[in-house]
Amino acid sequence: MISYFVRRAGIMALTMLAISVLVFIIIQLPPGDYLTTYIEELRSQGETVDPNKIAYLRAQYGLDRPLTEQYFVWLWGMLHWDFGYSFEFDLPVSDVVGNRLWLSMVLNFTTVIFVYVISFPIGVYSATHQYSWSDHGITLLGFLGLATPNFLLALILLYLANIIFGTSIGGLMDPKFINQPWSWAKALSVLEHLWVPVVVIGTSGTAGMIRRLRANLLDELQKQYVITGRAKGLSELKLLLKYPLRLSLNPFIADIGSLLPQIVSGAVIVSAVMSLPTTGPMLLSALQSQDMYLAGSFLMFLALLTVVGMFVSDVLLAILDPRIRLEGGVRR
């Protein structure tokens, strides 16, 4: 069991390494290094550039050295919580990011919980009442949920809130808490505002999860042991809870792998639309102004979020499902 976890952790580290190479390539894609862009921009505003600062930055990030070396400098810096320098804000990236990372994590995590809590009862109901009117209705809603891109859903909600309540539902907390230190009142205010983006981001994930749970449960319900149980006179509820439901729960954990990237993606664009104080809008503005180090660290963070999430799902799955655990042991 432990060796399985160690192996999984090793794979996770390697994956992050590969992703860091990918992100570094993306950072380097725009023509010219970022200092030339920076100097260019300052010149166009008629400001003078302090040559000392340029020289310092050049040395700091080793821009005169070959690309491979630059990559290792960047990677080494990241491992020591030094993510580079944001030119838009004229601050180190770690200072700019602040607690946006935490809010992003809270948002994504809550959305995952929301997806589970909503899709579980609906999926079970829809499978046990196959081809009933409510089942068809749920399927139709599910299709709509899958087809409506979440940023459009966000727009619709913003629009409705604007005409019905005359207010904006953007943001993650009351305006009075912005830039305030954390307190209970602030946390509560975040919780109050959180549900709108959570629903918006979670809709398509929920729709997908309901479909999978329904399909899985239907497969299980047709198996012989269920028929045997029914023939022996087990009550329907017990028959459902005893085995089929437990078996069909596997995708809840196994599918974190496909659910998480989807949610993280959705969170980025929905927060940009609803201007939430999470990583999304800042990633967008960093990309638009080609502030590539800032963008790069956001990309790394989002990737880390999904990769760690998958690791956790693998660990949970191994604990819950002996088949996976044993296979890991045999392979060793």
Binding site: T15, P149, L155, P261, A272
Partner: protein, 384 residues
């Protein structure tokens, strides 16, 4: 005493294989080709057929956009900024007039600064058909000015309203469809080619190639797609011409989408390459590319087409999202995402809700592709 029952003897000639003879219907079924059976199976899926028709119709508008749209993409009507949709009527004062719209009366509400338009019930503006209107260059080739519908002379025809520059939304939606609908197809072609060749390599050769490909697929699938798309398209040089940006975006969309297809190809090939006919072909000295393309691929081509259909919507949505955020296509190129970018100003949308209309074609197209893909997937395996 009764007579013994007479033994019945049929005088018809006896044919011993009569029993095994097939009815014409059965014969038709057994002799049908694989594709014909898929078509039968597909036809049973009503929703998929409807979705197919919807998609066929919307894709055929691409060829005739200039004629179908009442106005040009960029024609501004500066007197009618943010005009609401005009409804088409048939009866004026209880008398049949044929299709017409009432003229618009404009007033600026000085309290709210909202532009208010009301129907001018005295002005009946009859819609003209097959008429001459805005002059355009058909597919950039020759000049013409024929339109399917036009407003009456000196009148207006804004079926879906106008935007902040007084441009007709309906026409812009039609022109936007040209970009949005094709971008998915080109993107899926790229991802299809990548998926088949990479998945084919991994599945046929196995070994370390397979291992490397598997790892790469795992890494790509664990990445959140949209942020990567955003980063890549932000890296496109700003001085590229719109047409290059268009191709750049399609390539970016295709580059991240192939892992799913490659995985499907790989697992099928792994199973099929051990089949007798594949071994026979190998023993006769066929090259791997020949075996894959000639003997193995046709086995699951239908599956691939079905799953490709299912991933077109992701591409269309990707382009819409990127353009909406201002990282994808940029005006003057107009896609549904570019049109939606105007709806980002939520105050404007609250006053002029028809700016949200480009959502409808996006959602309809995505739904239609999903239904069509579902139908194709069921039909792909007609022997079950």
């Amino acid at each position: 005493m009764s007579k013994p029952l007479q033994h019945y003897i049929s005088s018809a000639p006896f044919n011993p294989v009569d029993d095994e003879a097939l009815t014409p219907e059965q014969e038709r079924y057994y002799l049908a080709s694989q594709w014909k059976m898929m078509w039968w199976r597909f036809k049973k899926h009503k929703l998929a057929v409807i979705a197919g028709i919807v998609l066929f119709l919307s894709y055929s508008t691409i060829f005739l956009t200039e004629i179908l749209a009442p106005y040009n993409l960029h024609s501004r009507n500066s007197d009618f900024i943010y005009a609401p949709p005009q409804s088409i009527r048939f009866f004026h004062n209880g008398q049949f007039e044929g299709p017409f719209v009432y003229g618009l009366k404009y007033r600026l509400n000085m309290d709210t600064l909202k532009r208010e338009y009301t129907d001018d019930l005295t002005k009946v503006e009859k819609i003209r058909f097959f008429c001459s209107g805005d002059s355009y260059k058909f597919w950039g080739m020759f000049r013409a000015n024929v339109h399917l519908v036009c407003p009456s002379k000196n009148g207006t025809l804004f079926i879906l309203g106008t935007d902040r520059l007084g441009r007709d939304m309906a026409s812009r939606l039609l022109y936007g469809g040209r970009i949005s609908l094709t971008i998915g197809l080109i993107g899926i072609t790229i991802s299809f080619l990548l998926g088949i060749s990479i998945g084919g390599l991994a599945g046929y050769f196995g070994g370390w190639i397979d291992n490397v490909v598997q790892r790469v697929i795992e890494i790509l699938r664990s990445l959140p797609e949209l942020p990567l798309w955003m980063a890549l398209s932000a890296a496109l040089p700003a001085n590229w011409s719109p047409i290059w940006i268009y191709f750049g975006i399609t390539i970016i969309l295709g580059l991240l989408d192939w892992p799913g297809l490659a995985r499907a190809v790989r697992s099928k090939l792994l199973a099929l390459r051990e089949e007798d006919y594949a071994v026979a072909a190998r023993l006769m000295g066929a090259r791997p590319s020949h075996i894959i393309a000639r003997h193995l691929l046709p086995n699951f081509m239908s599956h691939l087409i079905a799953s490709a259909t299912l991933s077109v919507p992701a591409m269309i949505l990707g382009e819409t999202a990127l353009s909406f955020l201002g990282l994808g296509l940029r005006p003057p190129v107009t896609s549904w995402g570019v049109l939606l970018a105007e709806a980002q100003n939520i105050e404007a949308v609250a006053l002029y809700p028809w700016l949200l209309l480009p959502m409808l074609p996006v959602i309809v197209t995505v739904l239609a592709f999903n239904f069509l893909g579902d139908g194709l997937r069921d039909a792909a395996d007609p022997y079950h």
